[in-house]
Symmetry: D2
Subunit: 393 residues, 4 copies
């Protein structure tokens, strides 16, 4: 462990000035200095003590974004919105200023002036420079940028060779990959472990899976599980184990914040709600009635409210129901998971894992490479994975 403790790990956020990234950086600095506890950090629990994960204090932050609000100011906004104690931004100001100096312009959704080959070359240069200047043993790239519309499938996504050729031939203003996948491509090509915390396409492209395995780099995703789906994945096994027949499962999500706004466009809603409903169908093994809504309610700010209604049938046809209301602070739920993932991916890389990491399903709404949606079973997978990380080498 002495070994792991001394090395410094880079965490590169795509969307580095967003709520989740800022909260994660603020919290890492605060926890390191004893100004905050690590409540909500899964990997701080006893099951992870032997996994030789890098410590929070050894993480170095940077990232890409397309917005210019400096991190110290973003932190103040978050404290004002109740995400962090009023005095915390002041206490971590120096850390945030240092990280802010490492935030560089990302690629916009549409760039009329550069081909996607040029863009990835520029993004890769940023990553390399970050790693070298800070003498980092490795850099984990975590996508926490705005959810993007789901693009139509394209033939060149299927095989790496064709993807590379398409990028070589790409022209300014023509999209081969959506931004999230371009960031994923850049990371994997540069040998950086990659995490899709958003529901965007990201690394979920056959050609990128091929790239990850070729480069011997692990990746994980998609879509951090912090609210309605988290509770669902805890409750679903109850209905299944008791053989209670779920007739319908309906949900309404009221979201404020920057992400709520992004998700309010119809295309994005589809991308998000379909990942939410997937867990349900797969877990119960039969189609279940019900809609899931995502409503943007600006005034909720960082505080999300989800209401779910489950209608089920028991012995002799009795009709019963379960309702729940989850009132969560999204960034406070997401930020510690993002730190967990960065630490786990760094160690997974170090111990030779490559390609998709299905054992991290516990963190995601739409876990890559696995059909297990029961929370406890997912935790058990994660626990064993951590155990194996500790035993490696």
């Amino acid at each position: 462990m002495t070994n792991t403790e001394s090395v410094r790990i880079g965490v590169w956020f795509v969307g580095a000035r967003g709520s989740v990234a800022t909260t994660a950086m603020m919290g890492a600095a605060a926890a390191r200095d004893g100004n905050a506890t690590t409540v909500g950090c899964v990997t701080e629990g006893p099951d992870f003590q032997g996994a030789e994960l890098p410590s929070l204090g050894n993480l170095v932050f940077g990232g890409h974004d397309i917005c210019e609000t400096p991190l110290p100011k973003r932190a103040e906004q978050l404290a004002h919105a109740g995400v962090a104690p009023a005095r915390l931004p002041e206490l971590v100001r120096a850390d945030l200023a240092a990280a802010d100096a490492e935030v560089l312009p990302g690629t916009p959704v549409f760039d009329a002036d550069r081909s996607q080959r040029e863009i990835t070359t520029l993004l890769a240069r940023d990553l390399r420079s970050f790693r070298e200047r800070h003498e980092l043993s490795r850099v984990v790239v975590v996508n926490v940028s705005s959810t993007e519309p789901r693009p139509s499938p394209r033939p060149e996504h299927e095989r790496l060779e064709e993807l590379e050729r398409a990028l070589d031939d790409s022209e300014p203003g023509r999209e081969i990959l959506p931004p999230s996948s371009l960031y994923a491509y850049t990371a994997l090509r540069a040998g950086c472990p990659y995490v899709d915390f958003t529901p965007s396409l990201g690394a979920r492209v056959p050609a990128l899976d091929e790239l990850a395995r070729q480069q011997r780099v692990p990746y994980a995703g998609s879509d951090g599980k912090t609210g309605e789906t988290l509770v669902k994945s805890a409750l679903l096994p109850m209905f299944a184990a008791r053989r209670l027949h779920v007739l319908s499962w309906s949900g309404t999500n009221l979201l404020g914040g920057g992400d709520g706004h992004t998700l309010s466009t119809p295309e994005n809603v589809t991308s998000k709600t379909s990942s939410k409903q997937r867990a349900l169908g797969e877990s119960l093994g039969h189609p279940v009635d019900g809609d899931v809504h995502i409503d943007y309610v600006a005034e909720l700010g960082e505080h999300k409210t989800a209401w779910d209604h489950v209608l089920f049938e028991g012995f002799l046809g009795a009709r019963m129901s379960l309702q729940f209301t989850w009132q969560g602070c999204d960034s406070a739920l997401a930020a510690p998971l993002v730190l967990d993932l960065a630490r786990l991916l760094a160690r997974a890389h170090e111990t030779g894992h490559a390609g998709a990491l299905p054992d991290l399903a516990f963190f995601f709404k739409d876990p890559v490479g696995v059909d297990e949606h029961r929370l406890e079973a997912q935790y058990e997978m994660l626990r064993r994975f951590a155990e194996s990380l500790g035993e490696a080498r």
Copy 2:
């Protein structure tokens, strides 16, 4: 399995004319004849197919009660209250009439005329006669009678030898054991597996545990888990695995029905709520604020409503909450579990199990002999137990 299929198993209900017992008998007959599905029966799931449990159709019912309403009439009341389809009582009338002929007067809470030694002798005679007349390979006794007040501990409860002596010396009107424990004593002494589905003391007495092991008879309990506690045991692991800090957990239970009335007396409330809160403390490993209320609302009839409010803290101190409302039909939830338990206990007895069965924790609010309160982990214990039952002999 052919072997198991042919033998007939007795199920002897203490409280045989109550809602739970009547629903169980009505449902067993209906399911056997294809007039109802087995939704809600845990042991009908694939994980139990190899356990060689007796089939529903091979169960023969009887029991003790102190009320006189005939079972066919009780069934009509339950259908009227929405527990079963309006036409079901008619379809199972013959079965209920047959069972009704096997329901004999139990012992009242207070009997001024007989010593407890005399009472247990009479109760045992009923059990033996039932077994012999129906040529049953074994009889499982299931306590689904009204919740009784929790008695003060007595020294003679500690060791079997002293308990026997106290019963020998007992005089009319003097209580050595509360009724539930007297029924448990009778069952175990007669070599019958025993289930405490109620929160009453029952078999949870050191002397009775000794008796069970001496007689090579298994027993299980306590307090069927069908509502608030069920949901709690599904949600608690979520907070634990995510390291979210539960600050308070408050609950209000609105109950109608016969049992709601019994529970409305303050002594009983204590007996019930303390078993409910035990799960919480043990699972989270730290004291949690909050009260649990049980209110009797006569007009709710068989439909229980529970509201729970959980206040928790996440990263950087963010305050969040989860509320749920569970609207369940109690007897519809309990009856299939009672059938599950009867079948599991019969097979456990057959395969040589004796004493407390901690592996059945999944069914109980206050599981005997085990500290595991996470629902999924309990299910996994149960699944393995069923597997071992299939492998036995």
Copy 3:
């Protein structure tokens, strides 16, 4: 009052075989014979005792529908679904059979064979025949048929003269008026008071308002208020009177039943949700954030569940919230109101009222001719209206 008691009043349902109509007829017969109370009937309260309304026992039922299920069978389905006690359909069988004989084929949404002038002539003949055969002093037509899509406005809807001309010139298969408005036209032209219990266009057409006044016939509507909007109209004045600033009001309605299915088509949702949101804006005097969803959940049957979330701000900017869940049996809520409306319209007609009756806003989501959406204020209007009915002539 002796006078009023002796006369018989016709109630003609458009959608006579639907849930609401069937429940209303079943209930009127049951209440008349003492087989049911009048719980839920507003006009049975003390404030209406002097209004000289026709008694429930003096109502004679008939109507139009396009479905063929006989009323006694429909009643059994409703009892099975929990809308009425299991034995009630049997007790009112004769009454329902009599009413069933008075249910005639209505006009379908699209009729390729007849012009709308022909259709209205045929419908009017049915109405007249009903009135004459039963020697009814008057017939109130109540639209409780399926919600229809909202048609685009047409110039000939503006003035009666032009509407008549357009109907004269109409050809088979060409729609001048949507079915609901054609029924309203027929009723008013035939001198029958008319009630729009549905959100369909119905009488809300300038030309039809002109017709009502010309014919000296009263009409009322639109869209019976039985669920979410009812609770809203009770809660809104609280926020207003306390000067608490409502920031958002979000709602999700889960509906089963025939009407839920109809409403699930996108066009209809718009027609229904816009009438729901109208109350909100008008009452608070400022735009309020939030969406209203209507989801079809077939398994809910006749039992609707609505969840509303209100975010509001108080003194010094404090954020607070109110949530409610309404679990109602739609037809049980609607049927007594339909009887109330029939009785009120009959008496209003008798006492010379003509045109829109804004004083009946209490019954409607989208009350015609009035901006008052506060429930208590609406009740006060209604109470005074009833008083005036008693004083008339």
Copy 4:
């Protein structure tokens, strides 16, 4: 109105360092300077513009308390707990410091050293000195101190003459009146209008009513209506007007804060819950099943959560339910009402009102001198009262 504007009015809080008083003073200063809006202040609405109430800026604050935390510090604690914006305490620091200088030691619940006659003499001296030093035209005393246990009735409470005699004869350490009533006595005797914002006994003693009328001083109470009861009083008229039969109404209140702690002692719970249930019985005119719980949950701080469950019956016996969850910031709800009441009482005194003011029922859970519990009807009474205040003199 020029007249009213120029005069300064004293507001004397019993419990001046508590959450409600501090929030009221902070808010009055902030609103006066344009640093806060008057959201939540009823008397700032258009219906009160003609009532000639003193303006917020003309209120001068002081009071009694038994705790020593200075107001500026108390304000910071409240801002920290989310009751006010983080920066507000700084902006109103000077005002709070000035008010703090006017907060004097009150009388503890038990004083072994002084007779109650001596105590009231000392308290009265504080009131007079405040009035004189600030040249106030009048001083309104508002009781916002901790809820006290309800004392047993005593014969000397019945008539003023006997009360005076008992006070004259009183000895140190013997309680004739509970503290709240002693404060009320002092106020009324000193010619100060008095408001019972707490559920304590206060002025609700026949002898004190006599005193108020004798002294020509108005008083109002009891128990500010800010949560569950407020919503109840908005919803009850809905059930009544629709003639829906309420079968049970159950409530659970989770309270933190100082007051939650005080209320957690069993005696106080009784005093508070009985005032809550009174509204229910009186409004519906028939006994209603159900319990009301008040639970202390320290970690909720200033944020109260109330859950209510209403079971009701509709037409043909259909069972339905309404649940609501109210999540309110208690002091933010109470503080503006306290300012409203001070202004209304000042003007009522000025215009010659004396004795109990039933027209202020809108503000109270347990309104003195009136049985009207419907919120809208109460608002109408209040509106007319305000109108009459404007017309006076």
